[in-house]
């Protein structure tokens, strides 16, 4: 069947028994990694952008319209901007026992050691605000989506780690490797100070082994819990022994190997790892040598590439991996992953250029995460923040947005636990976990507030500028064009003509039936924008339109 024609026909499928429609198992698809050769229109560009970035802005869509699909994916996979400057001191030190007064306001604290609990807490907060700012100001690349993927995959919680410098260092490592080598990242994570705190690796010694990291390394980071993931409890214990002896130095903000705490015996692994024995080593280099051996052994297991590719698939495409997807997409991706020695980019390259990725069945089915919603909202509706030099107010506003997303159950920097956010692993609900009786109204509340009254910090308000958005439409004076283009900006699926005409009449025409009433109102406003009455007419209708559309279920899909 022609998948594309299915998507465009979304408004007119055969009527189904409405009450039970959603219990149907949705049809899936047999498309593969074969390179996509279909049309390259705003539909496909928007799909690519929404999945690889946070929201698809009109500017980005326009930019990629002049490129081919191949060029677009190549560009998204090659971030042009340098790694960002580190988070700065946006906090005051009132009431702090050991203030970091040597750090000037607005300069970074990441190289300054300070063990004061209050200072650490304010730095953690600054780190999170800073990250939110990076998400909002992302460049035209996949970097932020991949960094967040790695944060979800190698999950840590800032509240548990505590030391803000460790947290930043850990984050900077993930960010720098966002399109790098997965095996390298895993090795770095294993002795990363933040992870050594988070999973107690720093207390893992020959006399008192702590299996926490050794377990998650296999269960969550590399092998997963799929039917072919057959590592054993003995493997968990053996891995823990390999990793004994790693410690943190809170002054140097780095980990180090203490050979006196290391288990020097041989470590026997199961048949899942080919009955590998990692020979016990001694001395200062033992930790690195055994860790290398452990990582090499794990990544030689066939399952690892499949598991990581499934995780990537669920992040970028859809959560339902049926037999066809496993055979046509996951296994070939895993082959690419292995063949390229676990470089991430070739996998993303194959996936994002595939006919499977652009398959109509895979469009519009991803429920936005809270960050997708909040950041996408800011970017697609071009929310204006203060000038970048005004870090105090920007940090304050980013913090407000963080708290909105956090209320919707995605707290950046603090996933619920080591497994990351449930939406990406908890079967059978997956993404649907994001939407419940508590969070859906909060999503609506967020879009309502940012549309209606805005969010104010330091006298600076962020709010939807409805007239500015309308002005990006090809002909905002025509209510039909206005509605169509705004819907295309916000939704991944069309609304039926009946719904559209009801919205047009109820909102843009104020109950009238003649399009000209909107046209006149728009022209009158533009002829004299300082006339409050004319401006209010236009602004209130647009405000109501945006608010209404963002309250529809369609807005939650990406």
């Amino acid at each position: 069947m022609d998948r594309r024609s299915f998507l465009t026909a979304i408004g007119t499928p055969p009527p189904v028994s409405a009450a039970k429609a959603h219990y149907r198992v949705a049809d899936r698809t047999n498309t593969s990694l074969k390179e996509y050769s279909g049309p390259w229109t705003e539909t496909e560009i928007s799909h690519l952008l929404k999945r690889t970035m946070f929201g698809s802005t009109k500017t980005d869509i326009k930019y990629f319209k002049n490129k081919t699909m191949i060029q677009a994916v190549d560009e998204l996979l090659a971030p042009a901007s340098p790694l960002p400057a580190p988070p700065v001191k946006d906090y005051d030190t009132t009431g702090v026992t050991t203030p970091d007064t040597n750090i000037a306001a607005g300069t970074t604290w990441v190289n300054d050691t300070n063990n004061d609990g209050t200072i650490q807490s304010r730095r953690r907060a600054a780190f999170k605000k800073w990250w939110m700012g990076l998400l909002i100001n992302q460049d035209r690349s996949i970097r932020e989506k991949m960094t967040l993927f790695l944060h979800n995959h190698f999950s840590t919680e800032t509240n548990d780690v505590g030391n803000a410098q460790y947290i930043f260092k850990h984050h900077a490592m993930l960010r720098a490797n966002a399109l790098g080598n997965f095996k390298t990242i895993t090795r770095q994570v294993a002795i990363d100070p933040a992870m050594l705190v988070y999973l107690n690796g720093q207390y893992n010694t020959a006399t008192a082994p702590d299996e926490n990291f050794g377990r998650e390394l296999q269960e969550l980071f590399c092998c997963g819990k799929g039917p072919d993931s057959l590592y054993t409890e003995a493997d968990v214990k053996a891995a823990a022994k390999v990793l004994t002896g790693w410690r943190n130095n809170a002054t140097l903000i780095s980990s180090f190997f203490d050979s006196t705490k290391h288990d020097t015996g041989n470590k026997q692994f199961s048949a899942f790892y080919g009955n590998t024995v990692i020979t016990g080593k001694t001395g200062a280099t033992a930790g690195d040598l055994e860790l290398d051996a452990l990582i090499n052994m794990i990544f030689s297991a066939n399952e690892v590439a499949k598991y990581i590719c499934r995780r990537i698939y669920r992040w970028f495409v859809y959560y339902d991996i049926d037999v066809a997807v496993e055979n046509n997409v996951i296994q070939p991706l895993a082959d690419i992953f292995r063949k390229n020695n676990y470089e991430i980019k070739p996998v993303l390259n194959a996936l994002l250029k595939s006919e499977h990725f652009y398959d109509a069945f895979n469009q519009g089915c991803l429920i936005k995460s809270p960050l997708d919603l909040v950041i996408g909202f800011c970017r697609e509706l071009n929310i204006q923040f203060p000038a970048s030099a005004d870090y105090v107010n920007n940090y304050g506003l980013w913090n407000g947005l963080l708290s909105f997303a956090s209320n919707m159950q995605q707290n950046l920097g603090d996933p619920p636990d080591i497994s990351g956010w449930k939406a990406y692993y908890q079967s059978p609900q997956f993404y649907e976990i994001w939407i419940n009786s508590d969070t859906l109204p909060k999503r609506n509340q967020f879009t309502d507030q940012l549309t209606l009254s805005g969010y104010t910090f330091g006298g600076k308000k962020i709010q939807v500028d409805s007239v500015a958005i309308a002005n990006t439409v090809s002909d905002p004076s025509d209510p039909n064009i206005l509605l169509d283009e705004i819907i295309a900006l916000m939704f991944r699926m069309p609304l039926s003509s009946a719904v559209k005409s009801q919205i047009k009449k109820d909102i843009l025409l104020g109950g009238q039936v003649t399009d000209n009433y909107w046209t006149t109102a728009w022209i009158d406003y533009n002829a004299n924008p300082n006339n409050t009455a004319n401006a209010t007419i236009v602004k209130n209708r647009l405000r109501d339109l945006f608010k209404y559309l963002m309250n529809l279920a369609e807005y939650q899909l990406s």
Binding site: F6, L7, I10, T12, P13, P14, P15, V16, A18, A21, H22, R24, A26, D27, R28, Y318, D320, F361, Q363, C365, G396, N399, S403, F404, I435, N436, S437, L440, P441, K442, Q445, F446, D448, Q449, L452, S453, T456, F457, G459, L495, S497, A498, V499, Q502, I503, D506, I507, G510, G511, Q512, Y517, T532, A533, I537, N540, R541, N551, A553, E554, L557
Partner: protein
């Protein structure tokens, strides 16, 4: 495939409830719960309901209520559409006016003493723009002024000052206001948040009762869309109380078919009888924008406008009869309004252009029946620019209904209406038991003294983190950012000095991360 049917059904995107904010973790209690009933008792003694019927497009008042007293001037002004005198429906107790022949339903309500006509309702310097005039009617502003909240929204903010924080709760389990339509209109907009919920259309209401989410494509996107719609229905905070209320009413009288106003009012009657404590319902019907061919040339008592008026009249009659049948007639008063009337002189296309003042209807068992005002003074030779002068300010109608029906104490009317307006003899005041604001929910901001002359102290509660207190005027302009910084959780006070401000209504707005609350403050001399 029945394409038309499908297209119709795609409207069913669930009961869409934009504008309900806060308190989402609180599940609505079933009002059957005994403890809820016990708790409910002290909240308010007033169980009155106000139903607002918006006739969109600008109803031609002169052809709705025909000024028999000046009939010859009326015919002169609009020969091509004038209703023949012998067809005008007579009204008991008056010879000055009569109704359009299509309005037999309203005629019988009037003659039963259940309807009042207020003549020539308008306001100074009327606007002839649909949008602007609608905003004026909904916000109850002066013509020269832009107010960004609605009059009924301000009333609800007065009676339920803490909404939406801590709502629904045991003393107000139900929506404060319900509108049938895609959006909650400006009428129901409070100073910060919308005070109403909307049911996007009548068929969505029945889908909601049936647990249907409407059709979706058989794709993964369709599966997720249905899932989200289902959650939207189930977990919208008032789903339980609305379903319970609707479920209690198994029999209603027959409403006229093919009448969308009747369809809407039928739902309103059902929810009132079902026991919702919702104060205000709003329904809309149109379009009355009859620029051309509003009446058939061969018989001017028929045609587009006649059909519209008949639907309005039939729907209101059925609604009133249903309220009687359901035994809730004493609790309900309704009113019609339209953004303007139409020009005295008809145009050459057999229609009427945008005008000014027009009559409106107030109906219900508790209305004081009759006609308020005189037949409009029509010039003998009306010219194209002649308009009806207003006899009553529309805000007098609102103020009267607020004071005499929704039982707001006179001293507090200005908080809602922004100015003082005359009271009209519209409803039986004996039915009123004075209400006090319902302080349920989470009170996060208040001020004392209120009203104030020079300064007032604002007390607020923050849950910690960034906290903002703004003073905003009734046009939405920020007068002052009084507080804008990080706080530890607790109660705080700040003084607002407003000595140099003009007298009037101001709002103190609290924004604490994702929570907001607004309190009205009155500055007096």
């Amino acid at each position: 495939m029945k394409r038309r049917q499908f297209v119709k059904d795609t409207l069913a995107s669930g009961v869409v409830l934009p504008g309900i904010l806060g308190g989402f973790s609180v599940r609505a209690f079933s009002e059957d719960a005994a403890f809820v009933k016990a708790l409910m008792a002290p909240s308010t003694d007033n169980d009155h309901v106000l139903v607002l019927i918006q006739l969109t497009g600008g109803n031609d008042g002169l052809n709705t209520v025909i000024p028999l007293e000046v009939y010859s001037n009326y015919v002169n002004a609009r020969t091509n559409i004038a209703i023949p005198e012998n067809k005008v429906l007579t009204l008991a107790g008056t010879k000055k006016l009569g109704l359009h022949p299509a309005m037999t339903g309203l005629q019988s309500l009037f003659n039963e003493g259940k309807a009042t006509i207020v003549e020539s309702v308008g306001y100074p310097s009327p606007s002839f723009s649909h949008f602007r005039a609608t905003d004026i009617w909904m916000s109850a502003s002066d013509s020269s002024q832009v107010v960004d909240s609605g009059w009924a929204g301000r009333y609800l903010n007065y009676e339920y000052p803490n909404f939406p924080n801590g709502y629904p709760n045991s003393t107000m389990t139900d929506p404060l206001a319900i509108q049938i339509g895609s959006i909650t209109s400006l009428t129901l907009q409070g100073p910060a948040v919308s005070m109403g919920m909307s049911i996007s259309n009548t068929s969505n209401f029945y889908n909601f009762l049936n647990g249907s989410t409407g059709p979706a494509p058989a794709t993964p996107a369709g599966k997720e869309l249905s899932y989200i719609r289902e959650i939207a229905q189930q977990t919208q905070q008032y789903a339980t109380v609305i379903k319970d209320a609707a479920g209690k009413v198994t029999q209603q009288i027959v409403y006229p078919s093919g009448n969308t106003l009747g369809d809407q009012l039928k739902i309103v009657a059902r929810l009132i009888k079902g026991g919702l404590h919702t104060r205000v319902y709003m329904v809309t019907f149109g379009s009355f924008d009859t620029h051309a061919q509003q009446a058939n040339a061969a018989d001017t008592s028929t045609g587009t406008h006649a059909v519209l008026l008949q639907k309005v009249s039939d729907a209101i009659k059925a609604f009133q009869d249903d309220l009687k049948f359901l035994g809730v007639e004493d609790r309900v008063v309704g009113m019609t309004f339209s953004e303007f009337g139409r020009r005295i002189k008809s145009n050459a296309s057999g229609g009427t252009d945008h005008g000014a003042a027009a009559p409106l209807f107030v109906f219900g068992k508790q209305v004081l029946p009759g006609v308020i005002g005189n037949a409009p003074p029509l010039p003998a030779n009306a010219t194209v620019n002649d308009n009806l002068p207003f006899q009553y300010d529309f805000r007098s109608v609102y103020a009267t209904l607020l004071e005499n029906w929704l039982c707001v104490p006179n001293k507090d009317l200005q908080t809602i209406m922004l100015k003082n307006f005359q009271t009209l003899p519209l409803v039986n005041t004996a039915a009123c038991k004075t209400v006090n604001p319902n302080n349920s929910g989470d009170n996060l901001i208040s001020n004392y003294p209120n009203p104030f002359t020079t300064s007032t102290t604002i007390s607020f509660t923050t849950a910690g983190g960034h906290t903002l207190i703004q003073v905003i005027d009734m046009t939405g302009r920020v007068i002052s950012n009084l507080v804008d910084r990080e706080y530890t959780p607790g109660k705080y006070k700040v003084t607002f000095n407003g000595g140099t401000l003009p007298t009037g209504v101001y709002y103190a707005r609290l924004q604490n991360m994702s929570v907001q609350q607004v309190r009205a403050m009155i500055k007096v001399q």
